[in-house]
C-alpha cells in the first residue's frame, strides 16, 4: 500500500500540519509584498506582523450591523476554515492519511464546494450592500471554476480507475499525472486560487469593494475567515500533490519528506501567482472559463479515457 489510514490521533496532527503550511504561505506572501513596496521586510519583522494581526483580531470587538442574518453570517464565516480542515482528511502526508476513503476525490470536492456556499452566506449575512455584492461575485466565480475543477478531478479519477486517493498515488509510480495531463493540472491550480478566493481570483473580497465579503468582518470573525482563506489555499496545494505529482513517491527521501517538499513547491507557485498580476475581473474571466477552459478540460478527460482504454 502506498497510502494507509493513520491511527486516530492523526485527527489532531492533520489540522496542525495544515495550519503550519498555511502559516508558511502567509509569511512568504507578506514577505514578497513588503519587499516589493519597500516596507519593513526582515523575515522576523514579517512574522511579528502576523502575530500582531492575530492578536489584534482576537481582542477586537466583533461587529453587529443593522438587521443582520446572524445565523447565515456566522455559519458562512465558520464553514470556510472547517471545510478546509475537513478536506485534508483524505490528503495523504507521506504514507498516512487521516482516512483514505474509497470516495476520497468526491469528499475533497464536496468540502471545497461548501466554501462556495459559505462565502455567499458570509456576504449575505451582514445586510451590507458591499458584502452582498462580494457574496454574489463568489457565486459567479464558482460557476467559472467549479466545472473545470470537476473535469480535472474526473480526468485523474479516470486515469487511476478509482476515486481513492491512495490508488491515484499508486498509479503515478512511473509517471506523474501532471506530466501527461498538464491541462487538468493547470485547471486544478486555477480552481484552487478560485475556491480560496485568492488573488488573482479575489474579486469576492476585492479591493474595489473595500474588501467585499470581508468588509463588515471585525475581530474574531475576521480572523476566522482570513485564516480559513489561507487554510483553503494550503489544502488545495497539499491535494495537488497526490492528485498530480505522485504524492509521497520519490527516490531517496522518505515519503513524508517528498509530500512536504512537493506541497511547499505547489504553494510557492500559487503564492507567486498572487503577486504576478492584478485581480482578474469576473466580467472578463467567466467567458474564458466557459469557452476555453471547460472545453479544454473535457478534452483532457477524453484523453485520459482513451489512454485507459488503450492500456
Amino acid at each position: 500500500m502506498v497510502v494507509e489510514t493513520a491511527p486516530l490521533w492523526a485527527v489532531l496532527v492533520a489540522p496542525a500540519l495544515l495550519t503550519a503550511l498555511a502559516g508558511v504561505g502567509t509569511w512568504a506572501d507578506r514577505l514578497v509584498e513588503a519587499r516589493a513596496a519597500g516596507a519593513a521586510s526582515r523575515p522576523e519583522a514579517v512574522l511579528t506582523g502576523m502575530v500582531s494581526d492575530a492578536a489584534r483580531l482576537l481582542v477586537a470587538q466583533r461587529r453587529a450591523t443593522l438587521a443582520p442574518d446572524r445565523l447565515m453570517w456566522r455559519l458562512g464565516v465558520v464553514v470556510v476554515p472547517v471545510a478546509a480542515v475537513l478536506a485534508v482528511v483524505v490528503v495523504p502526508f507521506g504514507r498516512w492519511a487521516v482516512d483514505d476513503l474509497g470516495v476520497g476525490v468526491v469528499w475533497f470536492n464536496a468540502m471545497e464546494i461548501l466554501t462556495w456556499a459559505a462565502l455567499w452566506a458570509a456576504g449575505w449575512g451582514p445586510n451590507s450592500f458591499w458584502s452582498l455584492i462580494g457574496g454574489y461575485r463568489m457565486v459567479v466565480q464558482g460557476l467559472a471554476y467549479e466545472l473545470p475543477h470537476m473535469f480535472a478531478l474526473i480526468g485523474v479519477a479516470t486515469a487511476a480507475g478509482s476515486l481513492q486517493v491512495g490508488t491515484i498515488v499508486a498509479h503515478q509510480r512511473h509517471l506523474w499525472f501532471a506530466v501527461w495531463m498538464p491541462l487538468g493540472f493547470v485547471a486544478y491550480l486555477l480552481s484552487v486560487l478560485g475556491f480560496s478566493f485568492t488573488k488573482p481570483f479575489d474579486q469576492p473580497a476585492g479591493a474595489d469593494l473595500s474588501g467585499g465579503v470581508l468588509v463588515e468582518a471585525a475581530g474574531a470573525d475576521r480572523l476566522v475567515i482570513a485564516a480559513g482563506r489561507w487554510l483553503l489555499l494550503a489544502a488545495g496545494a497539499a491535494m495537488a500533490v497526490p492528485l498530480f505529482l505522485g504524492g509521497g513517491l520519490g527516490p531517496g527521501l522518505p515519503a513524508w519528506a517528498w509530500s512536504t517538499l512537493k506541497s511547499l513547491a505547489v504553494l510557492g507557485v500559487l503564492v507567486a501567482a498572487r503577486h504576478r498580476m492584478p485581480t482578474i475581473r469576473l466580467q472578463r474571466w467567466v467567458p474564458v472559463a466557459w469557452l476555453v477552459l471547460i472545453p479544454l478540460t473535457i478534452v483532457q478527460v477524453l484523453v485520459a479515457a482513451l489512454v485507459v482504454l488503450a492500456r
Partner: protein
C-alpha cells in the same frame, strides 16, 4: 485580563490604519503613507479592518460628520490621530502606538467585556455600509411592519426592461484609494449603477500640490525644469499607485508609491531610471492589467488602459529630465499642468458611471485621477 493586555500590547506593535484623506492635504497623505511604510504598518480599506483612524490634514467642517461615522465603525481598542503637519507624522504615529498599547488608560470606553459587539448606524461616511434604512427610497409599505424598521426599496426600470429594486448608495468621501473630498452618490440595481451624481466636500481649492512648481514659476519664483519633472513623475506615480491598488495589485501599487516618495525625497537620476525601468516592465507589459482595464473608462475619452500607459510614458519622459537645470518659464503653459481643473472630468464621470458595474466605476475614478484641490468649475458639475 493579563492575557488580554498582552494581546493588546502585541496588536499595538503593528496597527492597521484607515487613512481618511482630507482635501488640500496631499503632503500630509504622502508623509503618512511613507511613515506607515517605514514601520511596516498596513493601510486597510474598511473601518472593520482598522484600529487606527488617521485624518490626513485638518478636518473641514462638512467632513467631520462622515469622519465621526467612520470612527464609530472601527472596533475597540482603537485610536484616532490627525496628521496635519507632514514633519511631525513620525511623532504622531509614535503617539498613536502608545495610546493603543497603554494598559493604564484602557483601550477605550465600551471595549471588551461590557460590549463584545459594536453596532453602527445606518449610513456611514465611506458610503460603504448602507444597511438598508436611510439609503432606500421609501415605498408605500401598506402599514406592514418591516424588519428593523427599514423601509422597502423603491423600484425602477432596469436596462432589460424589468422592474428591479433600487438602492441609494454612495462612494466616498473616506474610501481607500479614492480622491480626497469626492462623493459619488449612486442609484444601484444589483451591482450596476443606474444614476450617478458627484458631490465635492471640504473643497478649499488651494491649488493642487502636484501643480506647485508651475504655480511658483508663474508667480516669478525660481523653479528649474528638473524640479518640475520630479513633481510630474511623482504625480503620475501617485495616480498609478491608486489605480493599481483599486485593480487589486498591492505589490505594484506599493512599488509605485515607494518610488514616488523616494523621488520627492530627491532620489538621484540613475537610481530613479533603474527603478522606474523595473516598474515599467512589470506594469507596462502586464497583459492581465491591460485585460482588466481595456474598454473601461470615460465615454469619448481614452480608456483606463490607455491612461495608465500614458502615465508611464509621462514618467519615463520626466525621469529623463530630472537633472534639467534650465529655469521653468513663468508662462509655462497651463495646459501642460500635471493635474487639470476637475470640472469636466467629474461631469464625464457622472455620465460614464451610468450602466457600469461598481468595480468598473472604481477603476474609472482611479483612471481619471481627479484632484479636487484644483478649483472645481461650478458649471461643470452637479448642474444636471
Amino acid at each position: 485580563m493579563g492575557v488580554t493586555m498582552r494581546l493588546v500590547g502585541l496588536a499595538a506593535r503593528r496597527p492597521r490604519v484607515l487613512m481618511a484623506a482630507m482635501p488640500g492635504a496631499t503632503e500630509c497623505r504622502l508623509a503618512l503613507e511613507a511613515g506607515l511604510r517605514r514601520r511596516g504598518w498596513a493601510a486597510v480599506p474598511s473601518p472593520a479592518a482598522a484600529d487606527v483612524v488617521a485624518a490626513c490634514g485638518q478636518v473641514p467642517p462638512d467632513l467631520a460628520g462622515p469622519l465621526a461615522q467612520v470612527w464609530s465603525e472601527v472596533p475597540e481598542p482603537k485610536a484616532y490621530i490627525v496628521c496635519a503637519d507632514p514633519p511631525s507624522v513620525e511623532a504622531d504615529l509614535d503617539r498613536v502606538a502608545g495610546r493603543l498599547a497603554d494598559p493604564a488608560g484602557g483601550p477605550g470606553p465600551g471595549w471588551a467585556a461590557s460590549q463584545p459587539e459594536y453596532a453602527c448606524s445606518q449610513d456611514d461616511g465611506m458610503g460603504m455600509g448602507v444597511h438598508g434604512g436611510s439609503g432606500h427610497g421609501v415605498d408605500g409599505d401598506g402599514g406592514m411592519e418591516m424588519p428593523a424598521g427599514l423601509a422597502m426599496a423603491d423600484r425602477g426600470a432596469d436596462r432589460d426592461g424589468l422592474k428591479l429594486d433600487q438602492l441609494h448608495a454612495g462612494l466616498g468621501p473616506f474610501l481607500a484609494d479614492w480622491p480626497a473630498g469626492l462623493v459619488l452618490h449612486l442609484v444601484m440595481q444589483g451591482d450596476i449603477v443606474q444614476e450617478a451624481t458627484v458631490e465635492t466636500l471640504g473643497a478649499t481649492p488651494v491649488g493642487s500640490f502636484w501643480n506647485e512648481p508651475w504655480r511658483q514659476a508663474a508667480a516669478g519664483g525660481e523653479v528649474t525644469a528638473g524640479m518640475a519633472a520630479r513633481r510630474l513623475a511623482a504625480c503620475r506615480l501617485d495616480g498609478l499607485g491608486r489605480l493599481l491598488a483599486v485593480a487589486g495589485w498591492p505589490d505594484a501599487a506599493g512599488a509605485a508609491r515607494w518610488l514616488r516618495d523616494e523621488l520627492l525625497a530627491g532620489l538621484p537620476t540613475t537610481d530613479a531610471a533603474r527603478r522606474f525601468g523595473r516598474l515599467e516592465r512589470r506594469v507596462g507589459r502586464s497583459r492581465a492589467l491591460q485585460w482588466a482595464t481595456a474598454g473601461v473608462g470615460v465615454i469619448g475619452g481614452p480608456d483606463v488602459a490607455a491612461r495608465y500607459q500614458g502615465w508611464l510614458a509621462d514618467i519615463a519622459e520626466a525621469v529623463a529630465a530630472l537633472d534639467d537645470q534650465t529655469p521653468l518659464p513663468g508662462s509655462a503653459l497651463v495646459r501642460s499642468l500635471p493635474v487639470p481643473a476637475p470640472g469636466e472630468l467629474l461631469a464625464a464621470l457622472e455620465r460614464a458611471a451610468v450602466g457600469a458595474e461598481i468595480g468598473a466605476v472604481r477603476l474609472m475614478v482611479a483612471g481619471v485621477d481627479v484632484d479636487l484641490d484644483e478649483a472645481v468649475d461650478p458649471a461643470g458639475v452637479g448642474g444636471g
